[in-house]
């Protein structure tokens, strides 16, 4: 399993691996927002948690098809499916690799991008915490979507259409956790619900993703 993890991470970090692209996309989205809504910091700082969350979510979305695409194309996925390692474990490892190479960098970049949206230093902690707790769910849910569309040639838009509605609860609780923390309100409810979604997804979705992969590999 470790070998698979390291291999996936190395593939992602390669030149064409898309590692920097998600970060760059995150930056671009955050930069575009002020052009769309005006430069007034009062407004921007109010919507900053939401913008950062939506930006991170979209950046995550872009890299999802890479989870299975390369292995599907060269037949590695067929080998992995018949290997002694259960496919659910393979899927989980791939989700984890995706999170480390896409989700985690977004989490670390978020406070810096938040500065562009008027975020104050005491808010950094809440942005990072909410994204840290939520991005694993995004990777796991996204893996399910990637498994559904693995065989399709130009499945990118379909993947977005399938995955984005599934992201709604994570987005709601993640952004709300950040917003409440920043203003000093009690964060118990959104935090526990966000954690609930993340843990439940990590525990259960790999089974669905593996089942879907087996269907697609038939």
């Amino acid at each position: 399993m470790n070998a698979l993890l390291l291999r996936d991470m190395r593939l992602a970090m390669r030149a064409g691996g898309g590692f920097g692209l998600s970060l760059a996309f995150f930056l671009i989205v955050v930069v575009l927002v002020p052009f769309g809504v005006g430069p007034e910091m009062g407004l921007l700082s109010k919507i900053a948690p939401g913008i950062l969350w939506v930006g991170a979510l979209l950046a995550c979305l872009l890299s999802l098809d890479r989870i299975f695409a390369l292995d599907f194309e060269d037949g590695t996925l067929d080998l992995l499916a018949t290997a002694p390692l259960p496919l659910e474990a393979v899927v989980s490892v791939k989700s984890f690799a995706h999170w480390i190479t896409t989700g985690l960098p977004l989490v670390l970049a978020a406070p810096f991008l938040g500065v562009l949206l008027g975020l104050q230093s005491d808010a950094f902690y809440w942005i990072v915490l909410s994204l840290l707790l939520g991005t694993p769910a995004l990777s796991v849910i996204g893996t399910f979507g990637a498994a559904l569309t693995v065989g399709l040639k130009r499945g990118g838009l379909l993947l977005s259409l399938l995955v984005l509605p599934l992201y709604v609860p994570t987005l709601i609780f993640g952004a709300e956790l950040a917003r409440r923390g920043i203003v000093g309100m009690d964060v118990g409810t959104p935090m526990s619900l966000l954690l609930g979604i993340t843990f439940a997804s990590i525990a259960l979705l790999p089974f669905a993703s593996a089942a879907v992969l087996k269907i697609n590999l038939r």
Binding site: L158, P165, P169, A208
Partner: protein, 241 residues
């Protein structure tokens, strides 16, 4: 005679061919009676004025929109467990109906909301949940369309329907939290039990019955279409191969 006998496409076609006209006629009758009664023969609501008449389209459409998805879920499970093709095709047939019903709900809701709340749209939990349901329907239909192999498509869309259902329920609660947690907005929901007096309730029941019959008729028609399309493809493939 077990219901499972009708899982056989030929039996299904012959049986439904006889019952569809009844459902269609019943649907037309109940909808016509419900709408006529509701539109012409009921008074205005003291709070909502004549807009209460929108209820006879809005509520039935909303009920079908939700229950169509539920029916798709059951049909998907039957396909995954018992591999009855008719079940998978029925789920596929129900989706466009659900989409149209969701659209009707959203549009009539917006037209109703404008004079009542002063806005075409509000991120009220109920409306928002319907918008999310609309997106789930779109994804489901898009996935069916994208996959060539019919059995693979049936399998994938069934899993999507199941996972989607769980997330749809989660979203419903998340959205409730999201709106009520933030604002104490005015209650925008139309609670059938609370707000709807008898004089409105009876034509509403007519209309709801009509919509349910319409849903059944259309799902049967749609499933028959899908069966025929598949049989045609199978015949052509056999000739080629």
């Amino acid at each position: 005679m077990s219901l499972w006998e009708y899982a056989n496409p030929v039996k299904f076609l012959s049986f439904t061919g006889k019952i569809v006209p009844w459902f269609a006629a019943g649907a037309a009758l109940f909808i016509a009676v419900g709408l006529y009664w509701g539109y012409f023969l009921t008074p205005d609501d003291y709070k909502q004025g004549s807009t209460v008449k929108i209820i006879y389209l809005h509520v039935p459409a909303a009920l079908i929109a939700i229950n169509a998805w539920f029916m798709m879920l059951v049909a998907s499970l039957i396909w995954l467990i018992r591999r009855h093709h008719v079940s998978a095709l029925a789920a596929r047939a129900a989706a466009p109906i659900g989409i149209v019903m969701t659209l009707i709900t959203l549009i009539t809701g917006a037209l109703w909301g404008q004079p009542m709340w002063g806005t075409w749209w509000a991120w009220d939990p109920r409306l928002t949940s319907f918008l999310i349901l609309f997106l789930f329907y779109l994804g489901y239909v898009a996935l069916w369309a994208a996959i060539d192999n019919p059995d693979t498509a049936a399998d994938l869309t069934s899993v999507l329907c199941m996972v989607g259902s769980i997330f749809a329920v989660m979203s419903r609660y998340a959205v409730l939290f999201w709106n009520q947690g933030l604002h104490q907005g005015a209650s925008l929901s139309l609670d059938k039990e609370k707000n709807v007096a008898d004089v409105f309730y009876q034509p509403l029941l007519m209309s709801i019955t009509g919509f349910v019959l319409l849903f059944v008729a259309l799902v049967l028609i749609g499933t028959r279409t899908e069966i025929r399309i598949r049989r045609a493809s199978a015949l052509l493939a056999r000739e080629r191969g």
